[in-house]
């Protein structure tokens, strides 16, 4: 989770996450690159929590609770999701 945390810090410091236009439908628009993406419901929830400033550990705990999966599985999925964000948004 440490690598994902650092990547997330980069996205937050660059103001990248805050600038994203995210709709309830899961449609995501990056105003800097003009690219648009779709998020599934859990991705949308995770992104919104990250944008609110929750730490990856807190987000994983919340996802684990909401989706009734064990915390390790939630952490792994979140880590992968943050890597995808890093790949597409930086």
């Amino acid at each position: 989770m440490r690598d994902a945390g650092e990547l997330l810090d980069q996205l937050m410091q660059g103001d990248v996450l805050r600038q994203l236009a995210v709709s309830d439908s899961g449609f995501l628009f990056d105003p800097r690159s003009g690219q648009s993406y779709t998020l599934n419901p859990s991705g949308l929830e995770a992104l919104e929590m990250l944008r609110l400033g929750l730490t990856p550990v807190q987000v994983a705990q919340e996802l684990s609770r909401r989706y009734e999966v064990n915390p390790e599985q939630a952490e792994t999925c979140l880590e992968s999701f943050i890597r995808q964000l890093g790949r597409y948004l930086t």
Binding site: Q19, A21, F29, P31, R32, S33, G34, Q35, S36, T90
Partner: protein, 347 residues
């Protein structure tokens, strides 16, 4: 605003449309514009000349005929249309329009153009020098006068793919010496010499259009292409906000002292660095997006020509898309005949 405004670049082939028709459309849709629009073109099949956005249309002599021929033709048109302004929209005609700008101004025809020196400074073959002076990154570029270069280029550190570019316009990404040679001859035949080669960089192209006031950049609108024609021209695009690009464009406008419309084309590499690809000395064909985001640049240009204070532009609005479509116009034979035989299409 009741000006009579002449606009060039009414060519509108779907694969590579000119900016004239979108400029006319922007002015027509500006709430406070009530003047007449005069379409100017070079070919009877320049489709914008027949569109109802133009009150009248005329053919011009090709730029190769020179500045004097252009002046004479414009003064003929002026006698009938009482022009207040002209907006040239094509790269190749800019030198002639700049050469006659003072003569036109004496007769009450306004324009807002860079000087001949400023225009030359952003020529494709001089762009590397300009970028060096202004500390802006640009892909390495060199002129090629011998097509044999393409067979031996690898030995000179120029591998494939590489971009082969025309002197004024057009570019082709080439993946082999054969492709590059064919592009060289095609571009030289169409646009003359020099032909340029530019190092190919992977990245996302982002474009900006705006107005230079002579000392600063105003009204920036930025766009990322979402779909392109075979010629690489935008067929769909979306407005974006890229502060780094805006700063770069401001550096160019301030460094050049640029007056008038311009388009700045850049490439953002995966590492995030911006490389200037070119500066076009006119509005781009996608300028209608400026109206779409509430920054009607052709209308603002008329204020600039009048020396009026420009309105406060609304904040940049990312996420507005444009999608082009091709549409057939029905043209009666008499209109076609008038343009072909008299060089004028007068309602």
């Amino acid at each position: 605003m009741n000006w009579n405004v002449a606009i060039t670049g009414m060519n509108a082939r779907p694969d590579n449309p000119g900016p004239g028709y979108p400029v006319a459309r922007c002015l027509r849709q500006a709430g406070d514009f009530h003047g007449r629009l005069v379409g100017l073109g070079y070919d009877v099949l320049d489709a914008g000349l027949y569109h109802s956005h133009c009150d009248t249309s005329y053919l011009l002599p090709y730029p190769a005929a020179g500045a004097q021929a252009l002046l004479e033709r414009l003064l003929e048109i002026h006698q009938r249309e009482h022009l207040d302004a002209v907006i040239p929209c094509l790269d190749a005609e800019l030198p002639c329009f700049i050469a006659i700008a003072d003569e036109l101004r004496k007769r009450g025809i306004h324009s807002c153009l860079p000087t001949a020196l400023q225009l030359k400074a952003r020529n494709k073959d001089r762009l590397p020098e300009l970028c060096r002076q202004l500390q802006v990154s640009t892909p390495e570029t060199r002129t090629v006068s011998d097509p044999g270069f393409f067979r031996l280029s690898a030995g000179q550190g120029w591998g494939y793919p590489m971009v082969v570019k025309g002197a004024f316009y057009d570019a082709e990404i080439c993946y082999s010496a054969e492709e590059a040679e064919a592009a060289y001859f095609r571009l030289a035949a169409q646009w003359g010499y020099p032909v340029l080669v530019q190092r190919f960089l992977e990245g996302q192209e982002i474009n900006l259009t705006g107005l230079g006031t002579g000392h600063s950049l105003v009204g920036s609108v930025m766009m990322r292409k979402r779909a392109v024609t075979e010629k690489g021209k935008a067929w769909a695009g979306v407005s974006v906000v890229d502060e780094q690009l805006e700063r770069l464009a401001a550096t160019l406008v301030e460094g050049l002292g640029w007056s008038g419309p311009l388009e700045v084309e850049v490439l953002r590499t995966p590492s995030g660095q911006l490389y200037l690809i070119e500066i076009n000395p006119r509005f781009p064909a996608w300028v209608y997006l400026s109206q779409g985001v509430g920054r009607n640049l052709p209308r603002a240009l008329l204020d600039l020509m009048q020396g009026r204070e420009l309105p406060d532009f609304p904040p940049l609005r990312p996420g507005q898309m444009f999608l082009r479509h091709a549409e057939d116009m029905i043209v009666d034979l008499k209109s076609f005949e008038n343009l072909m035989m008299c060089g004028a299409l007068v309602a």
